[in-house]
Symmetry: C2
Subunit: 378 residues, 2 copies
Amino acid sequence: MLRPMVKVLPEHARAHNRALVLQHLFHSGPTSRADLARATELTRVTVSDLVSELIEEGLVAERGVRAEARVGKPATLVGMCTEDFQVVAIDLADDASFRGAVMSLVGEVLVRRSVPAEGRVGADALELLAELASELLAAATRPVIGVGIGSPGVVDRDGVVVEAPNRAWYGVPLAEQLSTRLGVPVHVANDANTRALGEYTYGGASGEGLLVLIVGQGVGAGIVVDGMLLKGHRDAAGELGHVTVVDDHDRLPGDAEAAPCACGRRGCLETVLSVPALRRRIDGLDPQDADAALASVGRLHGVTLAPVVSALNLAEVLLSGPAELLDGPVRQAALDTVRERTMPAVSEQLSLRMATLGEDAALSGAAVLVLSGQLGVS
Amino acid sequence: MLRPMVKVLPEHARAHNRALVLQHLFHSGPTSRADLARATELTRVTVSDLVSELIEEGLVAERGVRAEARVGKPATLVGMCTEDFQVVAIDLADDASFRGAVMSLVGEVLVRRSVPAEGRVGADALELLAELASELLAAATRPVIGVGIGSPGVVDRDGVVVEAPNRAWYGVPLAEQLSTRLGVPVHVANDANTRALGEYTYGGASGEGLLVLIVGQGVGAGIVVDGMLLKGHRDAAGELGHVTVVDDHDRLPGDAEAAPCACGRRGCLETVLSVPALRRRIDGLDPQDADAALASVGRLHGVTLAPVVSALNLAEVLLSGPAELLDGPVRQAALDTVRERTMPAVSEQLSLRMATLGEDAALSGAAVLVLSGQLGVS
DNA sequence: GTTAGTAAGGAAGGTCTACTAACAAACGTG
DNA sequence: CACGTTTGTTAGTAGACCTTCCTTACTAAC
C-alpha cells in the first residue's frame, strides 16, 4: 500500500514464490510437493518446478517417502539442506571484543571465535573485523551462504554504518567493502534489530507487534510490526536508550538528581536500565532493598514503554539481557506499570517477558539476516 | 521481508505496475508515455500497453502534445481523468452528526451533506449511514469510484468495525454490508488513520515517519512508517488517547488530582488534551494564565510523545484539531519537551507542526481510502 | 531546401511464469 | 481384484514483460 515506488516483474513474483516454498520448508521441515502446493496456494505443477530449481541449486533435496501409510500414491518428501550450508555470524555489540561464530542454518553455533577489540576504531577496527570474518569463513566445514553482522549504531538498508560512535565509523559501507574482500554476501544491521530478528525467527515470538529491548552496556530496541522490521526515518528506529525517564519529580529513591548520561544529557533510560547502572544501583544493598530499587527502575521503564505499546498496539515486549537483573522486580514492575497506564484493550493482550534466546541471540539474529537476505527465509 | 505469506502471480505484478503508472499521473499530472517509462523504469512498450489499458477503462486520456519545443518527435501527454470520476467520503468521528461529501479525485469537496446522529446506535446508526451514503451517491454528477468511511473505534483490514463503543458496533462488517447494499466498493478505516492518510496524500507530509495526532472529542493517532500505515497487533495502533500522562507528581497546576476518564481510569492523555478538556481548562482565565495552562498540557503531551518519536524515529508529528487551542503554547511546549527528552539525532530532524488540512481532513482521508483501495493511488 | 540526428510511439517476436487438463504410478478399500 | 485417491509429471495455453525494428515528426546544421 501507499508507496509502490518500484516496478515488479514476473521474475520477482517467481523469486517471491520460491522464497515462500523455502520458508515453508525451513519452518515446517520436510514436506511433500503436494502439501507445499496446498500451503502456498500455488499449483502442484508450479511447486514442482520451483522445487526442482531448488534441488538443482542444492538447497533442497528429496528425503524419501513419507512413513505414514495413507490412501493414494505415497508422497516423496523434500526438505531444505540445512546441513549442507553454513552461515557466519558476528556480533559487534560488545565494546571489548568482537564475537563471531560459524552457525548452522537452524541456528546452532558450530565454531566460536572472539577477538579482543583493544580499543581499535575506524579502519583499524574494520581490519580486525575482516580478519575475524576470514578466520570464521576458513573454519566453516560447508559452503557459507553469507556473513551476517550486528553492529551498534545506525545502519541503513544497504549495510552502510551511518554512525557508530564506539567504533568511530561514519558512513562506512561495511556490507559492500566486506563482501568485496571476502567474496561472499555480507549483511549488516543494527544489533538491536538483529536480535529482534533472532527472537522472531528462533525464539518463537509472534511478530505481529513485537518489541525486543536489549539491555547491555546501553539500551536499545528492535521492533517488528505488521510482520516488518521497523527502520524509521533515518534508520534509527528503536533508539529508546536516550529517552529521558528521570526528571525532577521522578527521581529514584536515594538519588539526589538525574544521573548524567554518555550522550551529554541527564536522566536517560540508559542511566537507570543498562546493566552497569543496574549493578551499581543494587551494589551492597540487602535483597529486599535491592528488589525495591529494581522495581523502581522497572516502573520508569514501564512509563516509557506505555506510550510505545499503545501507539503500536504491540503484542509482545521481550527483555533481552541478564536474567538475574531483569527477570524479577524490573520485569514485574514494568509490566504492572504498563498495564496501569494503558487501556485494557491494549494491555490485556500484552505479554512482557524475557527473551528466550540467551547470550547468542545476537549471533542467531545475524544468521537470520543472512537467511533472510540470501534466501528470503525468516 | 520477513513474512511473505501469500503467493504472487504475474498478474499481480501487472496490477502493481498499473498502479505505479496511475500513481505517477496522479501526483505529477499529465506526462508522456516515454517520461512515464523513465519514471517507472519500465520499457516504453510496457507503459504504452498499460496506458492503453487505462485509456480503454476511461481512467486516463490523451491530453494533446507537449507545448515546449524539443528535438525529436513531440510527446503526446496522457493524464488521469480526475474530472470524470468522483468519490463519496464520510466522516463518523463526530458523535453528534454524520458528515459526508461528494469529492473530486483531487480532494475538493463538491457536495456536502450531514445528518444529525441523534444518539442512534447499532443497526439504527448503520441505517442512517446507509441513507447518507445513498443520498451522496445520488448527488454525484459523475460515476463514483467508491465510498470511503472514517469511523472511530477499531477497524480491521477488511473494513469490519471490531469495536466502536460510541455507535455500539461490535464486529460489524461495515464495508461488506454497505458495498452489497450500495452496489459500489466501500472502504472503511479508523478515523485517525484516515486523517493520517489524508495528510500524507493531500497535505504534503513526507510519509517516512509520520504521526498525525487527532485532537477532537477524544485523542487518537494515525502513524505512517516506512511508507506503510501501521495497523498493529489487533488493528488498534495509534490509540494514544488512553495512555496515562497525569500521575501523582505530574499533576497539572490547579488540579487536585488526575481527572477521571471515560475509559474508567484516571489521568489519560484524553483528559487533558481533548478539545473539551482544553476548553474547560482555559475557561475564564486571562490570556497569560491560559497560555501557561496550555503549555503545561503541551509538556505532558511531549512526555508521552518522546518515547514514541524515539522508538519509531519519526520525522514529522502533525497536530490535527482547532488551531486556536493547539497552535500555540501546546504545540511549542510539546516540541520543546520532545527535544529535551530525546537524543539530538532523533529530535533535530523532527518537525512538530499543525496539520495542513483543516476540518475536511477526515473527508480527504476517506477519499484517499478509496483511491488507494480501488486504484492503488495514494 | 535538404540532410542528419533525435525522440516518441507502435508492431512483431521471444522468453518467462503460472495455470489448466490429462495421465501414469502407487497405494488403500471394499 | 477392481476402484477410487493421491502424487507428481507432461503438454499446451494465456498473460506479462522484454528486445528489436520501424514509422513518424520534430530540431539543428549546412
